[in-house]
């Protein structure tokens, strides 16, 4: 026999309220106590309490910046330099890692045993060694042991690789560049319109057009005519040896080269696994049915298997892209000035404003993650299977 008291305590709703109240009190207590301690500790150690440091002169130099920056710039400016450098790494690595990863993933599924085994060995070795070790290996063991500028490894006398980094030719637009870009825009539009028309006609009549051939002809032909008619659109400047170093062109510093190369090869292994898993998850009956309909292997992949595999590939692929952004923070180990190295490293050490600096840094990564997650949810909602 439960007493009235006992019944009330056994009421699940009341108990839930009680538990939640306890949780709120504990969390608030922790936050409040922490804030109180932080305030006292920061006061005692003379650490700034506000965000006033944002507009103070930074006083340190950054060896790689996309926007104007000097030691006289503010901490706020240094933040933007770091953020842009982080985003630059992501913008370079994501497309290249996707390409390499898809290639390796396809190789993994190839009928040739040697090819698929090599792809398997690659993914296993890369995925089972730490990224940091790989970055340090590329940076300390490979890039630093390259020959000096005078003995650079050169590719077609245009790209040079030595222990000062990678030297690519730079392109300066000339007067003809306007014609060139106009031709590119025009041919891309024309190709898109042609493809739309071909799809429309095929839907109506079943007649097929050589879409790939005509698209390629349009996209290559238009700009080629512009180049022939108006002259070369760019002046390419190739790096030249002058004194002890190469001058001119674009210099990719070894820190960035190691980071980009390491991140691409690392991420590609994960992308390859995602692609393999996605393709293999499509039931065998699907490809058999496609063969039975008379589709050859290429069309079977394009029309039947890949559209179904994409549904499974996109969500983990997105999280790999987020991992690229997050992993680019390992820049701090090779000395590439990314957001963490500049802001959570140098700025934090100089200002001692740990709470503010770490909050800003984490807020940046968190907003990128949440924005991508929101985009992914929208994609899933529109692309997912509707099973009823």
């Amino acid at each position: 026999m439960a007493s009235a008291e006992g019944t009330r305590f056994n009421d699940p709703r009341l108990r839930a309220l009680l538990y939640q109240a306890v949780l709120v009190v504990v969390v608030c207590g922790l936050i409040g106590g922490g804030a109180y301690n932080a305030y006292a500790n920061m006061r005692a150690r003379g650490i700034p309490l506000g965000f006033g440091f944002w507009n103070e002169v930074a006083g340190f130099d950054i060896n790689f910046h996309l926007i104007e920056y000097s030691p006289l710039s503010t901490y706020g400016r240094a933040f933007w330099v770091g953020l842009l450098n982080t985003l630059l790494i992501a913008a370079i690595c994501i497309p290249l890692a996707t390409l390499l990863g898809f290639a390796i993933g396809v190789a993994r599924l190839a009928p040739n045993w040697l090819l698929s085994r090599s792809a398997l060995v690659y993914t296993n070795v890369i995925r089972n060694t730490p990224l940091l070790l790989q970055l340090l290996f590329w940076y300390n063991a490979v890039l630093k042991s390259l020959p000096g500028p005078r003995q650079s490894i050169s590719l077609a006398n245009a790209i040079y690789l030595n222990n000062r980094g990678l030297f690519l030719p730079s392109a300066t637009p000339r007067a003809a560049a306007a014609w060139f870009f106009a031709a590119v825009a025009l041919s891309v539009t024309a190709a898109a319109m042609f493809r739309g028309w071909a799809a429309w006609r095929q839907n109506r009549t079943g007649a097929q057009a050589p879409v790939a051939l005509i698209t390629a002809a349009l996209i290559l032909g238009g700009p080629a005519i512009a180049v022939l008619g108006a002259g070369a659109p760019f002046t390419f400047t190739v790096a030249k040896l002058s004194g002890f170093n190469l001058k001119g062109g674009i210099q990719v510093v070894p820190e960035m080269a190691a980071l980009v190369f390491g991140l691409i090869t690392f991420t590609a292994a994960f992308v390859a696994e995602i692609v393999r898993a996605g393709v293999q998850a499509v039931p065998h009956g699907q490809s058999e049915a496609a063969f039975a309909l008379g589709l050859h292997r290429g069309l079977m992949m394009k029309l039947v298997v890949i559209p179904q595999a994409m549904r499974l590939v996109v969500p983990p692929l997105t999280s790999q892209y987020l991992n690229v952004v997050k992993n680019s923070s390992l820049a701090v180990f090779v000395g590439y000035p990314d957001l963490v190295q500049i802001f959570a490293g140098t700025v934090l050490n100089q200002t001692q404003a740990a709470v503010q600096v770490m909050s800003i840094t984490m807020a940046v990564y968190l907003s990128i993650s949440l924005a991508v997650a929101a985009a992914l949810n929208a994609f899933n909602a529109s692309y997912s299977w509707r099973e009823h």
């Binding site: 040697l114 340090l136 180990f333 949440l370």
Partner: protein, 382 residues
């Protein structure tokens, strides 16, 4: 019968004798067929095979010679390695192995580390062997007794007559393995709690769990380490300032708990409603339902995912050097700085050895995870 005949009459030609027999196919099975099907199934495939063989003949012999016959296996210092630049310098590893294993842990006390390592290895085997007896006890030992024992042995205790060893001296594989074990021991219970919180009916509990999980998963591990290193000492009273090695350990436990929570949540979601309803119908309350019915099934189902998480966790331990801890990789980097052992081949040899170290652990765990996946799939088919 008549119909058949009439068809035969209507046709101009009907074969009377059968065609000569085709010769039997030369091979249906055996190594040559395997080679034809897997290496030379088409022209493209054949060319790929030839290209790969050429590449292997070009690259493999020098690589193997570099690592074996041309390598320097023992030397008192780096001068011999500087003379033989076409081979690896394994003598460097041999000379630095003690430092790579223990860091600056006092030589006379290193047996304590070895005891901890042996105990850990034994317990891990017991825990991971699917047919081992009393695995429940192994779990209790690993998650409750072993951490305490490790702490007492490594740190030292005056009452037991073990001199205290400052954590600043700890380093090398000791710190890497310790970080991994701490991450595993603390992240699993914490992760389970968070996963249950995320699936809870109570909105406040759910909100708190979701916020923690998504926050931690949304930021890089390095920022968590920086936070543990710089913010944690600010948030506690000055007398409680955590030890320099403890800070990254707290960071890694919190970090991997969030990832663990998502794995466990997957297991919880894959259980049918019937399991919950059945447990409730039996009159079990929430803790008993979870402990006796739900978690035993859900956790076993996500063992592969949990092991994969551990692999990531183990590789992430390399990052703790950013806040001043000397893990194995950092010990290797420190060893490179020895002027007696400086040379162009030494860095490559050191990283090759480090790569093998991590690969052996991680690949082993990956194989185990795949093995468990097969075992579990078999269980489901029954």
């Amino acid at each position: 019968m008549a119909g058949t005949l009439s068809v035969a009459q209507a046709l101009a030609y009907v074969r009377k004798a059968s065609e000569p027999e085709e010769p039997p196919p030369m091979l249906l099975s055996g190594p040559l067929v395997w080679v034809r099907d897997n290496l030379f199934s088409s022209i493209v495939s054949g060319l790929t095979t030839l290209a790969f063989i050429a590449l292997a003949l070009w690259l493999a012999p020098p690589a193997i010679e570099w690592a074996t016959t041309l390598a320097v296996w023992s030397a008192p210092d780096g001068s011999l390695c500087r003379q033989h630049q076409d081979g690896a310098c394994w003598a460097f590893i041999a000379a630095k192995l003690d430092y790579l294993r223990f860091g600056s842990y006092p030589v006379s006390e290193r047996w304590r580390v070895e005891v901890v390592e042996a105990l850990g290895a034994g317990l891990t085997l017991w825990l991971l062997w699917p047919k081992a007896p009393r695995r429940g006890w192994a779990a209790v030992m690993f998650f409750a007794v072993y951490p305490v024992l490790t702490f007492v042995l490594l740190r030292g205790s005056e009452t037991l007559g073990l001199p205290t060893v400052d954590t600043l001296l700890w380093g090398g594989m000791l710190v890497s393995l310790l970080t991994a074990v701490v991450g595993i021991v603390f992240s699993l219970p914490l992760g389970i709690t968070l996963a249950l919180g995320r699936r809870s009916q109570m909105p406040v509990v759910r909100l708190a769990s979701v916020m923690f999980i998504e926050f931690v998963r949304g930021v890089p591990f390095i920022t968590i380490l920086f936070m543990a290193n710089t913010m944690l000492p600010l948030f506690v009273p000055e007398a409680w300032t955590p030890d320099r090695l403890l800070r990254p350990l707290i960071g890694i436990a919190l970090f991997s708990a969030a990832y663990m929570a998502e794995e466990v949540r997957g297991g919880l979601q894959s259980l049918g409603r019937g399991q919950y309803e059945g447990a409730l119908a039996l009159g079990l309350n929430y803790p008993r339902m979870m402990a006796l019915v739900i978690l035993p099934q859900a956790l076993v189902m996500v063992i592969p995912g949990i092991v994969n998480n551990f692999i990531g966790l183990f590789m992430d331990t390399t990052l703790i050097s950013v806040v001043g801890a000397t893990d194995f990789l950092e010990a290797m980097n420190n060893a490179f700085k020895d002027p007696a052992w400086s040379g162009p081949t030494i860095v490559a040899s050191g990283y090759a050895f480090a790569g093998m170290f991590y690969f052996v652990f991680c690949y082993g765990m990956a194989r185990y995870s795949a093995f468990m996946e097969r075992v579990l799939a078999k269980g489901h088919r029954k």
